[in-house]
């Protein structure tokens, strides 16, 4: 439960950062509203399993965010919840959860790696987790950051940015940025736990 509490506290802080970074676009507005609702929902609640937290996060994001981000993040957390169900989360299970979440997001968004979407960040993280054997916050953060930064030079072929075609080059994909914040917050939790 301590871990959950820490996570939630971290969420609060990273949310503020997130909104400042991309708070003027609709993604920033929607995702910050969604995570604010998540805070309202999960803070102060006693959870027995991580899976239950993930499920509440999923349902809240799905019902409060809208746009593409709601179903995509909702699906990701729902998959995490399903993978974690009834178990204590160790490294192997966490890695599996991220892979399942990635596949869920790919399927829901009918997208793949390299299309300048949040999938790029999730798949990089998932790949890296498979190569490692234990939690390492800085590796996690670095992987997510690199993948996010790589979206800057990619031509968007999915999502609303695809309409921009060549004009999408040079801009970070907002979904990748919010995903990076998510993994960054998680990495901070891991580092603090050490």
């Amino acid at each position: 439960m301590d871990k959950t509490n820490t996570k939630i506290q971290e969420n609060k802080e990273y949310l503020t950062t997130l909104d400042q970074a991309i708070g003027d676009g609709d993604h920033g507005i929607n995702i910050s509203r969604g995570f604010q609702e998540v805070m309202n929902k999960v803070s102060g609640q006693a959870y027995e399993h991580v899976a239950d937290v993930m499920k509440d996060v999923a349902m809240t994001l799905m019902s409060k965010v809208g746009g593409a981000a709601g179903p995509l993040y909702g699906t990701a957390f729902l998959k995490l919840s399903m993978t974690f169900k009834g178990q204590d989360v160790d490294y192997a299970l966490f890695s599996q959860g991220i892979e399942d979440a990635l596949n869920g997001v790919k399927q829901r968004g009918k997208s793949d790696t390299g299309e300048k979407t949040l999938v790029d960040v999730w798949s990089a993280v998932s790949e890296r987790l498979k190569q490692e054997e234990k939690f390492d916050g800085s590796v996690l953060e670095e992987t997510a950051r690199t993948a996010m930064e790589n979206t800057k030079d990619t031509l968007a072929t999915k999502g609303r940015a695809a309409y921009l075609k060549e004009r999408s080059i040079g801009h970070l994909d907002p979904g990748s940025v919010s995903s990076f914040y998510l993994f960054e917050a998680f990495a901070e939790v891991i580092n603090e736990g050490e």
Binding site: G25, D26, P71, G159
Partner: protein, 332 residues
């Protein structure tokens, strides 16, 4: 930002409240949602029609709820699709046993949320089918893009699918007719100024005083070309040409024309554009069966307009003419 609002986070709720208060005999709000439903819904053995999308496109979408049109419209946050939990409530509320038909504009968010709602509905034993509107010729289709955007042409889908459902057609038949509309409707827009999303508080993009953006989307997302503003005739000619190139209308074809304002263009200017559009169609020997000029699918206070052509056959003409009674579309 200068707007008549109370709180940027409450614009949708406040709008819904005012909308229901304006049409208390015709519509009701679904409790705890941002869905607007026909007052007597569901209608037994009639296919229920649900549309929706982000707010900020008024009169879309709630304005099209009424007899011969939609049974329900769900409003999302400004320029953001409604969420699955809201959509499923609307689907349940209009299911009269003949199934529910969803009209979706081709945006990733809308598709994802409507699809999730459809899955939830099917899990509850409600038969659901859908059509995706993609009338905007500004954005080219390819296997790599998410496809064309859905814009003002959606209004024709509402009207014609609505009339078909009102006649008692089956879910399959409503779908077939709606798909025929989608296959024959094409639009394109131009913006002279940006809109301001209330929660963002500043314009979505910058356009110089002497610039226009051709092929703009209804959320202020960029179009295909930014250039020196032209006359109304030039704009009408450019939009018409692009649409005709795509739609391949030929001599003696019958069309419905819509010149749609994006939120802050005076009717005067819309009629000026329409004048030229009609002239250009006449030159090509294309028959204009019916014309609609006004605000049908806006983009907050964006200045500019879109032009839509729908190629008509006998069935579509009859359904376009069928009686309808919704705040934004009355026909007799």
């Amino acid at each position: 930002m200068k707007k008549i609002i109370n709180d940027p986070d409450k614009v949708v709720q406040d709008m819904i409240k005012g909308f229901v208060a304006a049409y208390p005999n015709d519509v009701k709000q679904l409790p705890n949602t941002t869905g607007i439903v026909r007052k007597e819904a569901p209608f037994s053995n009639k296919v229920g029609l649900v549309s929706g999308g982000g707010s900020g496109h008024e009169p879309a979408h709630a304005g099209y709820v009424g007899q011969g049109l939609l049974d329900a419209a769900v409003a999302g946050e400004v320029f953001t699709s409604p969420t699955p939990d809201q959509l499923i409530e609307a689907i349940k509320a209009v299911d009269g046993g003949a199934g529910v038909f969803l009209i979706i504009k081709n945006y990733t968010g809308d598709i994802l949320n409507f699809e999730m709602a459809a899955e939830l509905a099917e899990a509850e034993g409600i038969e659901v089918d859908k059509v995706v509107v993609n009338d905007d010729v500004a954005v080219e289709d390819s296997s790599f893009t998410s496809g064309r955007r859905g814009i003002a042409g959606t209004v024709f889908v509402h009207k014609i699918a609505g009339a078909k459902a009102e006649q008692g057609a089956s879910l399959q038949d409503v779908k077939q007719t709606a798909q025929k509309v989608v296959a024959n409707v094409r639009s394109m827009g131009v913006a002279l100024s940006s809109c301001t999303v209330p929660a963002a508080g500043k314009p979505s993009f910058e356009l110089a005083d002497d610039e226009m953006e051709i092929g703009i989307g209804i959320h202020g997302e960029p179009g295909i070309e930014r250039k020196q503003i032209g006359s109304a005739d030039d704009i009408a000619a450019e939009l018409t040409k692009k649409i005709l190139e795509d739609n391949k209308l030929t001599k003696n074809d019958d069309v419905a024309v819509m010149v749609n304002g994006l939120g802050s263009t005076p009717e005067m200017e819309l009629y000026i554009v329409n004048g030229k559009v009609q002239e250009l169609l006449a030159e090509k020997g294309i028959n204009v069966y019916k014309t609609f000029v006004g605000e049908y699918m806006t983009s907050l206070e964006m200045a500019g307009c879109s032009v839509t052509f729908l190629k008509l056959d006998h069935e579509l003409k009859e359904l376009l003419d069928a009686e309808s009674n919704a705040p934004a579309f009355r026909a007799k």
